[in-house]
Amino acid sequence: MSLENINPTVCPKLPPREGKVDDPFDSRGIFDLIRCINDPEHPLTLEELSVVSESQVLVSNEMSNSSVHVYFTPTIPGCSMATLIGLSIKVQLLRNLPSRFKCCIEITPGTHNSEQAINKQLADKERIAAALENPHLMLVIDQCLDVEIV
């Protein structure tokens, strides 16, 4: 398969978090969970490709109403991997966050040609559940999630 975006811009990584962490599930904590996800096409992480950033992770961490909203930015507006990237972020959060969190993964507004269709798919838990029962797809996602511990 040929790369869609041959020469992507590579951004520096954030240094590891230092000091005492009061809330492991603040926006930095959740960013740390997703920034090392591998891009399905490039040997680079979502952070290095600026697909995800700390400022694009919005968290409400109240016991009765905990939610995470992650916006991700495909490297090009026609990126055919956008759904897979969104799915990888979703799976990573489902696996690592306490179950009280409601996770919403969406494309940064205006950054993809099929933004609405992809957002709708990622929001449909029935379609997500069916997709995650597909062993071939899970293999690909697990490759994306083969993350190093920061």
Binding site: K102, D124, E126, A129, A130, E133
Partner: protein
Amino acid sequence: MATASAGESIQFSSTQTLKLQHEQTLLGHEDRVWCVVWSPKGNILASCGADKTVRIWAKEDGKMVCRNVLSGEHNRTIRSVSFSPCGNLLISCSFDGTCCIWDRSKSGEFESMITLEGHENEVKWARWSACGEYLATCSRDKSVWVWEASEDGSEYECSGILTHHSQDVKQVLWHPSMELLVSASYDNKINLYCQDDDDWTLHQSLTGHDNTVWAISFNATGRRLISCSADQSLKVWELDGPMKKTGVWKCMLTVSGDHPRVIYSVDWCKNSGMVATGCEDDVIRVYTLDDTDGLSLSVVHAQAHEKDVNCVSWNPKQAGVLASCSDDRTIRLWQVVAATETKLI
């Protein structure tokens, strides 16, 4: 005040303060529970989910217990279950693309009788028509299939494939007294179908929801249909004119602002007229009919489950008894009571 009359029907006035009293939590499913449904007599509860099993629950010494676990017929998530009008048949629909019909008329226990194959991928929902003659199924393959039972009921033949939706079809539902079929879809539409000579054709398409329509339910008379959506609203559709299957339906009411997240389930109680909803915010809400035919929000039961409420189902015989199920792997049983803790029945 609540008043009970013959046939255990109960009327609730909209000014009354109600609440949901938790009666029991049913444990056993090992993963997300997608669907819970009562048998027509209201004495058996069936549930299913991502653990690929159907569980049959019935009362023993006043408590609901798991009487049977049906497994081995599906190798992927079982999305929904539904009883036939006589209560002897049960159908399970699976992401594996098949439906299984289970029969208990021989041994008293549900045994697998037939597997229906034909859909290209995940089957989401199935319902028998009121007389039991037809069965409808729907799938992510965007189609609705109508199946016709043989005279002895042992075989089903496909008698129509309806491909009017442009996206996956979440639910199918038959009208309680007419041969009118309804489907709800990811394409934001609700379609109504009826038979024209021998062919099933699209009769009307109801538009108005801005996102996936997850569930639909008729009221007791069948003159009204309620729908719930990922657009966080409920819509009530009314038959305009005389009761005939070619009648035209119109939206008479939209309820928005009460649900902050996706509404996955809606059920209109045929006895009390109450409407229950299951929402992604873990809350069960109950509406009563008010004097102006509107829906009045009477119960907001926060943290009814620890995760999304996937399905709510009123007991068809015991007024005010509600079952719910969730991603938290549990099924919960509830009783609508006056806030003074007095049971209404």
